[in-house]
Amino acid sequence: MSDDILSRTSASNGAGSPEVIGFYDEDTGSCQYICICPESRKAALIDVVQTLDPKSFATGFAPARWALDTIAERGLELEWILDTHPHADHLMAGAWLKEQTGAPTGIGEKVRDIAALWRDYYNAPHAFPIDPHFDRLFADGDRFNIGNLEVKVMLSPGHTLGSVTYVVGDAIFAHDTLMMPDAGTSRADFPGGTAAELYDSIMRILDHPEAFRVFIGHDYGSDSREEPAWESTVGQQKRENIHLRDGASKAEYVARREKRDATLALPDRMLAALQVNLRGGRLPEAEEDGRSYFKIPANRF
């Protein structure tokens, strides 16, 4: 299975610049990353997927296994298991990765507010305690290290209210803000999302130098491009992004984004994914028969 995973390596540009291995989950169009400090051989995983068959609800760890195999083959040491936000379209593999490696998990601190929103949707007032499920909650402006590389955390709300962008040297892990230039930007209509905040977050990302690499969260190919892609630069995004290149004002962007979002179906794994992701990638606590169950609220969306 893991042989089928599409991956590409983006080389380090010298001191302070990470090597980035991007790998792809075809079922959900998710882009996942191994971010490597070339000097220390320390690495972080970003946004790794736990698979879920949306018919049978069987879960799996093929992409996460692929990542750990790659880390082992390359002789790397895993220092962080990071997510940019509680994803709506796929399940996180964080808890499983931590079990396998002991590395700490991290996500933006506003995951607490996101959990509060979803407790209401699931009518589960006591679900999703955050502290037991994440080792580190990052605030806007926090800094930490992957080996010798300094990571800057930027709060980037819009797609969710608590998404964070990790800027590692010249690599920006932009998750669901920008998509590839020919695909535009991410949707902003999930609970807690707003198109206006998304616009501001994108502008903060594009404030970086033009040569900075941008690694995005999703790609589905495009009309002119069959192969998925996930790496661009700040300069390319500024010049070519189809949602931004014509110098659209914030108001125009918001109107366009909201109009398009109104036409999009919800991701088929969303109602399962949040129950796992707000538990750091763990399945809901087993019932007395030893098995986990998702709760799908009817008629809340």
């Binding site: 609800f57 179906a265 019932e287 169950y293 998702f294 799908i296």
Partner: protein, 294 residues
Amino acid sequence: MTEYPVRMEVHPQVQGFFDAATNTISYIVKDPGSAACAIVDSVMDIDYAAGRITYDHADELIRQIETQGLRLEWIIETHVHADHLSAAPYIQEKLGGKIGIGSKIMVVQDTFGKVFNEGTEFQRDGSQFDALFEDGDTYMVGGMTCFAMYTPGHTPACMVHVMGDAAFVGDTLFMPDGGSARADFPGGDAGQLYDSIQKVLALPDAMRLFMCHDYGPNGRDIAWETSVGDEKAHNIHVGGGRSREEFVKFRTERDATLAMPRLIIPSLQVNMRAGKVPTDKDGNPVLKVPVNGL
């Protein structure tokens, strides 16, 4: 062998309504001698990703019955469907009528009560339905005598319903070029399915057969009506006298290649409750999905 009260001289009017989302055909069957009618295999619409339940398909059945001035007496489920949700309680609330299914529903309730780890409040005695049919049981739609034939194989509770010269085959046969239904769900059995199909094919050649599903194989238009004679001659899985052994081998191999139906989890959970959506302790409608359970 059960003796079935076949009445080929009774010709009910049968209207089929195709649901494109699940490739299901729902029927309104009208007694030729009165305004009485029955519905067979209704559909409730669901946007699974959103958990959103709507009633466009059922509303169309209701509108037809109202505008044609019919009186709904029965809401028949040929079986506990695994690929669509039944709208039976919604229709019953609007138009009345009794909800009927095969008595072996209890076997299905027992199996899936475990799969969904249902509590004791979920009764496994079929009491969610108004009528539980045994093989050969008859019931009236106006002046038309109808009967149920026990036809397990696709599920343990499948029944074919025969109303005059029209038989509603549920998931036994498909159109001749579509073959037969799968037999690999819990409690399904390819050998039983073969035997059940032979019971259907033992009905008179002129008996009209109405399918529960059609997928338009090889690009042909959707169709749902054929006859016993046609199926006997042309069905690609059982026609031309294919043996039980051949069928079981073919069916088992084929089933091993099929994916789960997209809606199997919500369908079973709702349909084993006669179409009612379960609720949480606060009364909110909620579906429960076993993780790694199927």
